[in-house]
C-alpha cells in the first residue's frame, strides 16, 4: 500500500488534532498527551460532526456537536452510545507523520 507524508509530528498540537483532505475524504489526525498518533475519518458516527474539532482526553475524543465520546484506537463510540467511524493506519517515522492512503479515499479520488 502507499503511504503519504503529513509533515513533522510537531505540526500536531498535543491533545489535539488536524485534518488532511485526500480525495473527497477528510481524515483527522490526533495526537494524545503521551505522543501517540491516531487517524480517524473526521465524521462522528452520530450526526457526522467533525471529530477533529473535539477535545482530546486520554485516547478518546469528544465530538463537538453532541458530546459523543469516540475511542481513538478503535473508532468506536464509548459509554452507552453505539456506532463507529473508520480508522486508518498512521505512524510516526523519524519524527514525521506517515498515513497509509485509505482505500476509500483512492476510490473517491479516481
Amino acid at each position: 500500500m502507499s503511504w503519504v507524508d503529513l509533515g513533522p509530528l510537531a505540526a500536531l498540537p498535543e491533545r489535539g488534532a488536524r485534518c488532511v483532505r485526500i480525495g473527497g475524504l477528510t481524515v483527522a489526525i490526533f495526537r494524545t498527551s503521551t505522543g501517540e498518533v491516531f487517524a480517524l475519518r473526521d465524521q462522528c458516527p452520530h450526526r457526522g460532526g467533525p471529530l477533529s474539532q473535539g477535545i482530546v482526553h486520554g485516547t478518546r475524543v469528544t465530538c463537538p456537536l453532541h458530546d459523543w465520546v469516540i475511542d481513538l484506537k478503535t473508532g468506536q463510540a464509548t459509554g452507552a452510545d453505539e456506532g463507529a467511524t473508520s480508522t486508518y493506519n498512521v505512524r510516526v517515522v523519524d519524527g514525521r507523520i506517515a498515513l497509509e492512503l485509505p482505500a476509500e479515499a483512492l476510490a473517491k479520488a479516481s
Binding site: W3, P13, V20, G49, I55, P64, V69, G79, R91, L99
Partner: protein
C-alpha cells in the same frame, strides 16, 4: 501471581448485589465472588413487587441480574441455599446444604423479615406475608380461586398489597390499627384524602381496629376484631411492618441491636465483615427504603476495592406510594414540633394537599398529596438545607413559580402516553426512557442520560426524567448524591476544586490534577474547560490559557455549526453601528460567499457558514473596518443590548445607549462560567428587555435600577431586583462587582439564574449592596483581570497566531514505502 481474595455475599437482594456491581466497576479482578441467596432466583427489584401484584408488570420485567449475568461475571451463585452459620475463626460460611465456602471478606445483606403478629390462627393456610416473589405468587394464586381478602396494616406495603389484590378482582378490606392511613409518612389531612380516594376505587377500610384472631379450619375463613365483629377472608395478608433479619449475624457473634451494627465504613463488629441494606443499624437508624442502600453500596465497594475514602453518614429518605393514579409524596419530619411552622396548601375540589414543615427558614419535612411534581425539589431543598426566605411566598406553588431556571417537571408524567416526547432536544419519548430504565437496569439520572440522551442537552426535562425514573424504579427511589463531584474524573466538587486552586496556589491543569489525584490522565471534556476557567479566574495575567482544554468555539473564536462551518459575529458596541461598518460587513459577506447574514437577538449581525480556513481572513477584513470579536461563541460577556434612550426617545429618562456602550467597553473580553448578557433600557417600558438578562439596567428619572439573574432561553426567568443607584459610575461599579462575584462563585456552566437560585438573592445583596468595601474589592479584581483579557483574539489570529488551528495538513507522497522503514 497473586491469589485472588475470596469475597462472599450473603443475601442476593438489591443491597448486596448493588455493592457487588459497584465493586466490579472499581476493581473487577480483585475478588473471587460467591453469592448466597435464599430465594431460587437471580436478583430482582423488590420495590416493584407491588406493580407485579397489580398485574402492571411481570416478574421478568423486574429482574435485575439474571443467572447468565452471574456466569458472565464469574460469580458463583447459590440461589435457594441459605447460609446458616458464619465460622468467623476459620473464616468460612456454612450453608443449609452443608456447603462450606471460605472468605477473606464477607458481606451480610440479609434484608428484613415481615413481622407476623402472634395472633391465633396465624399459621392457617391462606395467611401470607408480603415480602418476596413467593408471597406474590401465593397472593396471585389465591386471587384466581377466592373472592375475599383482608389486608392487616394500612401502611405503605399494606395499601399496595390491597390495591394489587383488588386489581386482581378480589374484594379487599384493609384493617388498620391507627386512626389514619400511612401515619409513618402522612399527616391526618393527607391520610384522610388518601383513604377517600382509595374508597372511591372500591377498597373497604376497618379502622381504627385491632385484629384479635384469624378464624378458620382447613383454611382461613374470617378475621375477628377485638370488638367481636368479623370480616370474611379467604386470604389474609399481614403487612404490619418489617424487622431487620439479624438471625445469622447474631448466631455468628456479630454485634446486633435492632439491626446489625455498622460504623460509617459499613463494617460490623468483625472488620472482615461488612453489612448493608435493611438488615443494618447505622447511627441508631434502620432503613426500609432503597435510596440509602445505594449510598451504602458505594461505601462498601469503595472499601473492598481498598480505596479507603468512602464514608456513609446516614440518609434522609422520601416515600411515594405505588398505586397507579394516586400521587403521594412524603419526606422528613412532616409532623413538626414546637419550634416549627407549617406552610399548608389545600384545594379539596382538585384533591390537592401540600404541607411543608419549616424550621428556621429551612424545610424539615414535606407531605404532598394529589400534586407531587415538586416532591423532588422540596426534598433537594431539605437535604441541601437551602434557606427559603427569598422565595417563601411562592414555595408552596412549586418550583415553576419560583423563577426556576429550567429544571421543573411538567404535569404528572404518569399520565403521559408512551409516545409523548420528554426530551425535545434529542427527540426521546417517554416509552424509550421507560424501556431503557427497565431493560438496562438504570438507576440514576446520569445513566439515563448516557443511554437515552434524554435530559443530556439543555436539561429542561430533567425534572420529568427524574419523575420517570422514580415511577419506573419504584417510588422511594431518589437521586441522592450527598455531594456531587465536578465530573467522573474526580471525587471533588466544584467548590472543593476551586478552593484547592486558590489555597494551594495551583497554577496549571496538570498541577491541579496531580494535587487532587485526578482519576484520569488528562481529564475529560467536562472537567478540562472548567479547570481552565477556574485557573484563568484565579490567576489573571499569570495563568497560561490551555487552548486544547477549550471547547472548539472558544478555540476557533466562532460558533461551530452543524455542518462544521463557523459563524462570525463582530462586536457592535451597545448595538450601535454605522454606514461604514455595515459596508464592511457587506463586503466580507460577498468576498467570502457567506451563505446567510442574520440579525441576532442581541442586536448584532451574524455571518453564518464561514469555512474554518477563511476565518483569519474574514477577521482581518473586519478588523480593518474597526471591528473586534463579538465573543458570540464563548462562555464570556456576549452583548449589551440597549434602547435608544433620551437622545431620541420621547420617553427616555437617561442615556441608555451611551451607558450600554460604556458597560460593554469595560466588560468585553471577560470570561465567565457561562455566557453573560447585559441590557440597558432607557425607561420602565424596558424596550431592551433588561429584565431577562444576567444583569439589566432600567433607567428611571431619579437614577438606575439594577436587576440580576434573568435569562430567556430554555426556561424564561425574570430578573430579581438588586438595588437602585444614582449615577452611571455606580452602575458600572456594581455591574463589574456583580460579574466578578459570579465569576468567582458560580460553578462552570452555571448561568447567573441558577447560581442566584442556589446561593440566594440575599447573599448577592449582602456582597454587592450592603458591603461597600467588599464591592470595591470585587470591582478592583474585575478591572485587574480585564487588563489581560481585552486583547482582540481575532486580530491576534489574523496576524498569524495559531495558524495551524485554521489550516489543514497537506499530504505529500513519500519517497519510499513506509512499511520498510519501520519494520
Amino acid at each position: 501471581m497473586i491469589r485472588k481474595r475470596k469475597l462472599v455475599l450473603v443475601g442476593n437482594g438489591m443491597a448486596g448485589m448493588r455493592a457487588i456491581e459497584e465493586l466490579l466497576k472499581l476493581a473487577p479482578e480483585m475478588y473471587d465472588i460467591t453469592v448466597f441467596g435464599s430465594e431460587p432466583h437471580g436478583n430482582y427489584n423488590r420495590i416493584l413487587l407491588s406493580p407485579v401484584l397489580a398485574a402492571e408488570k411481570t416478574v421478568a420485567d423486574i429482574m435485575l441480574n439474571t443467572r447468565e449475568w452471574y456466569v458472565e461475571n464469574g460469580i458463583t451463585l447459590y440461589a435457594g441455599d441459605e447460609v446458616v452459620r458464619v465460622d468467623r475463626a476459620r473464616r468460612r460460611v456454612i450453608a443449609k446444604s452443608g456447603l462450606e465456602v471460605p472468605y477473606d471478606r464477607l458481606i451480610l445483606a440479609t434484608g428484613s423479615n415481615p413481622i407476623m403478629l402472634p395472633l391465633p390462627g396465624k399459621d392457617l393456610p391462606g395467611v401470607v406475608s408480603y415480602r418476596d416473589i413467593a408471597d406474590v405468587d401465593r397472593m396471585i394464586a389465591a386471587s384466581r380461586e377466592f373472592k375475599s381478602a383482608v389486608v392487616i396494616g394500612g401502611g405503605l406495603l399494606g395499601l399496595e398489597a390491597a390495591y394489587g389484590l383488588q386489581k386482581r378482582g378480589m374484594d379487599v378490606t384493609v384493617v388498620h390499627l391507627g386512626a389514619t392511613l400511612m401515619e409513618r409518612q402522612l399527616d391526618a389531612s393527607a391520610g384522610t384524602l388518601l383513604k377517600r380516594s382509595l374508597e372511591e376505587r372500591g377498597l373497604r377500610f376497618v379502622m381504627p381496629a385491632q385484629t384479635a384472631a384469624i378464624v378458620g379450619d382447613e383454611r382461613v375463613r374470617a378475621v375477628r376484631f377485638a370488638d367481636g365483629s368479623e370480616a370474611a377472608a379467604d386470604l389474609v395478608v399481614m403487612a404490619v411492618g418489617i424487622r431487620p433479619n439479624v438471625t445469622l449475624a447474631k448466631a455468628s457473634g456479630v454485634a446486633c441491636e435492632r439491626g446489625v451494627l455498622v460504623n460509617d465504613t459499613m463494617q460490623t463488629y468483625d472488620p472482615r465483615i461488612y453489612a448493608l441494606g435493611e438488615c443494618v443499624q447505622h447511627r441508631g437508624a434502620c432503613y426500609g427504603l432503597v435510596a440509602p442502600l445505594f449510598e451504602q453500596a458505594k461505601v462498601v465497594a469503595n472499601h473492598l476495592a481498598e480505596f479507603g475514602i468512602g464514608r456513609y453518614a446516614g440518609s434522609q429518605t422520601s416515600t411515594k406510594l405505588k398505586v397507579t393514579g394516586i400521587d403521594l409524596f412524603s419526606a422528613g419530619d412532616f409532623t413538626g414540633g414546637a419550634d416549627t411552622e407549617e406552610l399548608v396548601f389545600k384545594d379539596p375540589a382538585r384533591g390537592v394537599y401540600k404541607k411543608l414543615v419549616v424550621q428556621a427558614n429551612k424545610i424539615k419535612g414535606a407531605v404532598l398529596y394529589g400534586d407531587t411534581v415538586d416532591g423532588a425539589w422540596y426534598f433537594q431543598l431539605m437535604r441541601d438545607g437551602t434557606a427559603i426566605n427569598d422565595f417563601r411566598e411562592n414555595v408552596l406553588f412549586g418550583q415553576a413559580h419560583v423563577g426556576d431556571s429550567g429544571t421543573a417537571g411538567a404535569d404528572a408524567v404518569t399520565l403521559l402516553p408512551d409516545t409523548a416526547e420528554i426530551c425535545g432536544c434529542n427527540g426521546v419519548c417517554k416509552g424509550d426512557i421507560v424501556k431503557a430504565i427497565t431493560k438496562k437496569s438504570l438507576f440514576t439520572l446520569d445513566e439515563v442520560r448516557a443511554h437515552t440522551k434524554a435530559s443530556s442537552s439543555c436539561g429542561s426535562c430533567t425534572g420529568l426524567v427524574e419523575q420517570l425514573l422514580a415511577n419506573t424504579l419504584g417510588g422511594d427511589y431518589s437521586e441522592a448524591p450527598a455531594k456531587k463531584p465536578m465530573c467522573p474524573c474526580t471525587i471533588y466538587t466544584h467548590e472543593e476544586v476551586r478552593g484547592a486552586i486558590v489555597r494551594e496556589r495551583l497554577k496549571t491543569i496538570p498541577k491541579v490534577m496531580e494535587f487532587l489525584e485526578w482519576k484520569t490522565p488528562d481529564g475529560c471534556h467536562k472537567c478540562r474547560p472548567g479547570l481552565n476557567f477556574y485557573l484563568l479566574c484565579a490567576w489573571p495575567g499569570e495563568y497560561q490559557d490551555d487552548k486544547q482544554s477549550r471547547f472548539i468555539n472558544e478555540r476557533a473564536h466562532g460558533n461551530i455549526q452543524r455542518d462544521g462551518t463557523y459563524s462570525v459575529v463582530p462586536r457592535m458596541w451597545g448595538g450601535v453601528t454605522s454606514a461604514k461598518e455595515l459596508r464592511a460587513i457587506a463586503d466580507v459577506a460577498e468576498k467570502y460567499a457567506v451563505p446567510t447574514v442574520k440579525v441576532t437577538g442581541g442586536q448584532r449581525i451574524d455571518l453564518l457558514g464561514v469555512k474554518k480556513e477563511d476565518l483569519p481572513n474574514v477577521w482581518r477584513d473586519l478588523n480593518a473596518a474597526g471591528f473586534v470579536s463579538g465573543h458570540a461563541y464563548g462562555k464570556a460577556l456576549r452583548t449589551v443590548k440597549t434602547c435608544v434612550g433620551k437622545e431620541w426617545c420621547r420617553f427616555g429618562t437617561q442615556d441608555s445607549t451611551g451607558l450600554g456602550i460604556k458597560l460593554e467597553r469595560i466588560t468585553w473580553g471577560s470570561w465567565h462560567p457561562h455566557k453573560v448578557k447585559l441590557a440597558v433600557s432607557g425607561c420602565p417600558r424596558n424596550c431592551a428587555e433588561a429584565t431577562i438578562k444576567d444583569l439589566g439596567v432600567v433607567c428611571v428619572d431619579s437614577g438606575y435600577e439594577l436587576h440580576v439573574g434573568g435569562n430567556g432561553g430554555i426556561k424564561i426567568r425574570g430578573t430579581d431586583f438588586l438595588c437602585k443607584v444614582a449615577t452611571e459610575e455606580e452602575v458600572i461599579e456594581y455591574c463589574c462587582a456583580y460579574l466578578q462575584l459570579y465569576r468567582e462563585e458560580a460553578r462552570y456552566l452555571e448561568r447567573t439564574a441558577p447560581w442566584i437560585e442556589r446561593v440566594g438573592l440575599s447573599h448577592v445583596r449582602e456582597r454587592i449592596v450592603d458591603d461597600a468595601k467588599g464591592r470595591n474589592a470585587l470591582y478592583a479584581r474585575f478591572l485587574e483581570s480585564q487588563k489581560y483579557s481585552q486583547t482582540d483574539p481575532w486580530a491576534e489570529r489574523a496576524a498569524g497566531t495559531q495558524a495551524e488551528e485554521f489550516a489543514p495538513l497537506r499530504a505529500e507522497p513519500r519517497p519510499e514505502p513506509v512499511a520498510e522503514l519501520v519494520s
